[in-house]
């Protein structure tokens, strides 16, 4: 699950990388949600990443990679 912002370029790069890697993934543009939906998405982000920053990539509900850390994302998904 990729939590992203529609205006953020590091988020954009992360999404493009996942697409390139041919990974099936869900994503949520948290800035496009409103009210309670946005709050609950933020609660999920903060569970994995207490700073609440974007992009936050949650892999298999097991671990999270915060930010466009290309090498780390590639390695985590190659495993």
């Amino acid at each position: 699950m990729l939590y992203a912002l529609s205006t953020c370029q590091w988020c954009h790069k992360t999404k493009v990388l996942l697409e390139e890697l041919g990974i099936a993934f869900d994503y949520e543009y948290v800035d496009l949600l409103e009210g309670k939906e946005q709050d609950s998405a933020m609660d999920s982000v903060e569970r994995w990443n207490p700073s609440g920053s974007f992009p936050t990539l949650v892999i298999d509900n097991k671990r999270a990679i915060v930010g466009f850390r290309e090498q780390e994302i590639r390695e985590a998904l190659a495993a």
Binding site: T7, C8, Q9, W10, M42, E46, S51, G67
Partner: protein, 171 residues
């Protein structure tokens, strides 16, 4: 709701203004023009939906008083350029990155998390000796650090053009 589209023309114009302003004030933009233009699209979009240019890489609350620290240029830009060579979004970068000598990379978030925002006064003056008494308050621009002693902060920061509400009482 019908939202007017952000045109390429508006983005180009925004890019030229931002670049000229940055360079006039000693800042540099990321040399990746497409990346920068996408960020400008984000800034214009935020201006459209919130009424101010909230940082494209952070979630704005939509309440201006809560988002003052992340109106571009944000309060964290200078410290991040100093420490990491780039601002959080990689819109503004240092000379080495601007001239292509170094590559830009993502950096950690400096803004405090939601639960800790607004808890600490931004500037804590810890002093054991008595502070001298000044005849006027001293105001500090939170964007660039400019200080001035006057009854009220200026309407616009004469150095970085940040608006009056970005000033804090320093002394």
């Amino acid at each position: 709701m019908n939202v007017p589209e952000i045109t390429e023309m508006a983005i180009d114009a925004g890019y030229r203004t931002l670049k000229a302003d940055a360079e006039k004030n000693g800042y540099r933009l990321n040399p990746d023009e497409e990346f920068v233009k996408n960020l400008i699209r984000g800034l214009l979009k935020n201006e459209q939906r919130y009424g101010y240019r909230a940082c494209p890489c952070r979630l704005a609350s939509g309440k201006k008083e809560e988002d003052l620290d992340i109106i571009c240029p944000c309060d964290y830009r200078d410290a991040d350029i100093e420490e990491h060579g780039t601002c959080y979004c990689a819109l503004y970068v240092n000379e080495a990155i601007a001239s292509g000598k170094q590559k830009v990379a993502p950096i950690p978030e400096r803004r405090p998390p939601r639960s800790e925002r607004g808890k600490y006064p931004a500037v804590k003056i810890v002093s054991t000796t008595a502070m001298p008494v000044f005849p006027l308050p001293v105001w500090r621009c939170r964007v660039c650090g400019y200080l001035c002693a006057r009854e009220q902060p200026p309407g616009v920061c004469p150095i970085c053009k940040a608006s009056k509400e970005r000033f804090e009482r320093f002394v």
